[in-house]
Assembly symmetry: C2
């Protein structure tokens, strides 16, 4: 049974591999607010325990066992986030840190019952998929909003950075998971984008924002 710190390291590797194709010491350290040297030591231990392969100087890859653990941890994290937002009335910008703690509570029964209680949700409050008990993730095809062109009709599927600032900015513009938008114009100069929600008037989004919005095709 991995310790809390081990779990967090495994999850960091998993997330980095999701986002790119490599999990480097420095990036893991940054994510966990640790020093790189501490991460190196941890990676060596996790490699010995069979959760990952550590290729010194070239980062880490998860083994099947490591991936399985990571998926369960991600499942717990996202189920708790869902609980906090749907049942306790937290804002979507307030749940990350708390879920970061709750995900480490050890009880399979707890997660089974929580999952059932929430209605076996497939997505968390940020639109991220929740792996099922077996670790299976329902796949969707999404693209970043900043890769869309004028005239595209889209629906916000997920926010890929859950920093408080971004989430509150989205709140202030009335953007949330499920919101439908039409891309009116993309400005080459700064990459900003004018979008129009189904109801309401158009406004502009900076590239910083549109880059972190995952969208799926919407109907015109």
């Amino acid at each position: 049974m991995p310790t809390r710190s081990e779990e967090d390291h495994i999850k960091a590797v998993y997330t980095l591999l999701q986002e790119g194709d490599s999990a480097f010491t420095k990036d893991i350290a940054e994510r966990l607010q640790n020093k790189a040297s501490s991460v190196t030591v941890m990676l060596k231990k996790l490699a010995e325990k069979g959760f990952l392969k550590h290729e010194p100087y070239y980062g880490a890859k998860l083994t099947a066992k490591g991936r399985g653990f990571a998926l369960q941890l991600v499942r717990r994290h996202r189920l708790w986030e869902t609980f906090l937002v749907e049942r306790l009335g937290f804002g979507w910008d307030e749940v990350h840190e708390v879920a970061e703690q709750m995900e480490h509570v050890k009880s399979e029964k707890l997660i089974d019952k929580l999952d059932a209680y929430l209605g076996k949700p497939h997505f968390d409050p940020h639109g991220d998929p929740i792996p099922d008990k077996k670790g299976v993730i329902r796949e969707r095809k999404t693209r970043r909003l900043d890769s869309c062109a004028a005239g595209d009709h889209v629906r916000i599927a997920a926010v890929s950075e859950t920093t408080d600032g971004l989430l509150r900015l989205l709140d202030s513009k009335g953007l949330r998971i499920g919101t439908s938008l039409m891309v009116q114009e993309v400005h080459a100069f700064d990459g900003s984008m004018d979008v129009k929600p189904k109801s309401g008037s158009a406004f502009s989004l900076s590239k910083d924002v549109s880059h972190h919005l995952q969208v799926e095709k919407g109907k015109p």
Copy 2:
């Protein structure tokens, strides 16, 4: 901010002082499944941090600060137990260990919202009082069932030992918090007691069981 282990020690001292009038090293160790020597070290540290007074060889007493912390921890523990039973459908014999972990999640907002979500309950699934946000406990006058005499009408208010075995035994006899009983006879030989629930026929309870049931006066 106390660590998890510090919190557990403070709570153990609190509970022992509730049950008797002293918290000795050995009993704390037993409760926490640690060795006495480890507890001594911890008590010294907690005394330095101002949570308690440690009188070597005579046990520990909480300071006001320590009592405040203990009450908040007890609050969190019992709120989570309530959540697990009332919302997730756990049995009352299954929640202790999980709540033992959840109580350590650090977030004041979480507990406020959980409390509101549960309807600001005053008692947990075992009938134990839940301190409010300020640490105030609603007092009741209860007595142990084994101190009752033939003819007494009582209502089960709390179970003072939450071992799985006892709770399941109570389940099997249909006894729970709020059940009303009439004491029919007390047998001097073994201290066992015949009781009759409001509806249903009478049965016998051993002294081991009646000793752990807290009751309040019921109507005849």
